[in-house]
């Protein structure tokens, strides 16, 4: 880092002044400034991240049900949860949601981005319209789709019946409902990956592609050897953020199945234990386990992202 010039300036300051520098100057000095700048963040983290974390750690070792004082249990809550079929089912559902949604969003998003990555008349309007689902609130989205997917008077089923399909109970068949939720999520978040990729594609260096074209490389070869590696950091960003948000999926369930028809994903299960059953002991334990799982996944992805960013530089 560049502190030599600065050090030199400090050296030049009169001795007396240097010894009694006001706190403000100490804080903004070259040595401390990087920490000074994160003070607000540290304060917020201290209150909002550590407080619930310690609360949860404490409660997870207790039988805490609010109506009487917590009672020490040791590791019982953890043992119980790790042996609970409902917990593992919900983890499984969350995992498949993440895999399916991220997989489709990445491939379809890249596909559409490549498709739209050209100059055409009205391109701004088309792109602007494509962006809109991203703006819709998850709850509003779920209520909207609940109305469209109503087996009886939902527009989707009416349209299906025009082309000769029979009614599908999108939000009630246990094999179907989870995919419907995934579909809703993808509908909302596909623009996110489309636009990340569109922006990335536009930022690609033109000369490399020109050279490849001159060398007579096939489009597929160019895509595989040039485009994909260059897009990797952006894929990692999409994957990291979407994985983290999808693990925390619960808003769309409020307006639709409320965890029914085999759609109880991890966060809904936690919601039920913590907020309907008010079993604070088990709820906080669940939260910690979920947090740990997310952190592990997040850390792996984050490392990949940093690596990809480094490679791309």
């Amino acid at each position: 880092m560049l502190n030599q010039g600065d050090e030199a300036r400090i050296e030049r300051l009169p001795g007396e002044f240097r010894e009694r520098r006001p706190a403000w100057q100490v804080l903004t000095s070259e040595k401390y400034i990087k920490w000074f700048l994160v003070i607000p963040l540290l304060v917020v983290l201290g209150v909002f991240a550590f407080y619930p974390l310690f609360y949860c750690l404490y409660m997870s070792f207790h039988e805490a049900i609010l109506i009487r004082p917590p009672e020490f249990l040791g590791l019982d809550n953890y043992r119980k949860i790790l042996h609970n079929r409902l917990f593992w089912n919900s983890v499984g559902r969350s995992a498949s949601t993440v895999v399916v949604c991220v997989g489709i969003e990445i491939t379809l998003g890249l596909g559409i981005a490549l498709f739209l990555n050209r100059e055409f008349r009205g391109q701004n309007i088309v792109r602007g319209l494509c962006l809109l689902p991203l703006m819709v609130s998850p709850l509003a989205m779920s209520l909207m789709w609940k109305y469209f997917l109503e087996p009886q008077f939902g527009i989707v089923n009416v349209m299906l019946s025009w082309i000769g399909f029979s009614q599908v109970a999108f939000l009630s068949e246990s094999g179907v409902a989870l995919y419907t939720i995934m579909f809703m999520e993808i509908w909302k978040w596909l623009p996110f990956s489309i636009f990340v990729f569109l922006a990335a594609l536009r930022g690609l260096p033109k000369d490399a592609f020109e050279a490849a074209r001159v060398d007579g490389a096939s489009p597929w070869f160019t895509f595989k050897k040039l485009t994909l590696p260059m897009l990797k950091p952006f894929m990692m960003i999409v994957i990291l953020l979407r994985v983290m948000w999808l693990i925390r999926l619960s808003d769309p369930l409020f307006g639709t199945t409320q965890g029914g028809a085999g759609t109880e994903v991890l966060d809904w299960y936690i919601y039920r234990i913590a907020f309907i059953r008010f079993d604070i002991g088990e709820g906080t334990t669940l939260a910690l386990i979920a947090l740990l799982m997310t952190i592990i996944i997040g850390a792996v992805l984050f490392r990949q992202l940093i690596k990809a960013l480094g490679a791309a530089r």
């Binding site: 010039g5 903004t28 400034i33 990087k34 700048l37 994160v38 607000p40 963040l41 917020v44 983290l45 909002f48 991240a49 407080y51 619930p52 974390l53 498709f115 701004n124 792109r127 602007g128 319209l129 962006l131 809109l132 689902p133 703006m135 819709v136 609130s137 709850l139 509003a140 209520l143 909207m144 008077f153 939902g154 009416v158 509908w187 636009f195 569109l198 922006a199 990335a200 536009r202 930022g203 950091p233 952006f234 960003i237 953020l241 693990i247 925390r248 619960s250 307006g255 919601y271 913590a274 907020f275 709820g283 906080t284 669940l286 939260a287 979920a290 947090l291 997040g298 850390a299 940093i306």
Partner: protein
Amino acid sequence: MRRVIFWIGVAIILFVFIFPIAWIFVTSFKGRTDIMVPTRLLFVPTLENYVYEFWKMPLLKEMKNSAIVSVISTIFVMAVSLPAGYSFARFNTGEGHLLFFTLTTRMFPPVVAAIPFFFLFRDLGLLDTHLGLILLYLYFNMSFATFLLYGFFREIPEELEHAAMVDGYGRLSIFRKIIFPLIVPGAAITAVFCLIFAWNEFFFGYIFTRTVARTVSFGLISHWGSVVVQWGPMAVGVIFAILPTLIAGWFMQRFIVRGLSFGAIKG
């Protein structure tokens, strides 16, 4: 021929993305019986749902609350995330660990975080207040904002700062005079995202407010009774819950698209 195929493709994409939003607009003008017959395109439009939402339900107040909370919380988020993002980008503060820790706050199930906060806010008298919700949204948005700004700050060439230092600028004046003007577009994008996320947030709004500070999302879910679902008013509620963000999205689209480049496009 290729052009035709291209436009068919565009039409399909637009249909999938836009039709649901357009359809809910149409639905909001339908009366009770028409709502049950979705294909009836020729219907007598009625404003009854709008009248109901604005005169009988506190929709206007809810929108005002959501707006207050979103805007102020976004200001707070920027105050926290701008310096932090800069620090992470320029000095690699905490060798990435602190940045990652900041990210993990979004990994904590909000449902469970809500319980200790509920008791804390009760003791501080922050339940059902705008301030309480603002603080929660600060917590909620801070991690993503910091991450996004970190990306933008990284794109600002360090050489600029070197040059400024040689000219005798201090760190703070560099931040103010050189970095800040360059980060404005990135900060604007981040702010738009924070606004949208805060406006769209449901769970905290629902747990931490009652009547005074209740938000649009909270109002939305109150159309689903144990004996009646009010589809019409719900459609109006949905429209006004998404309209501000749609408008923001439309007018800020250039910025948003740039924001989603995570710094890939210069300038």
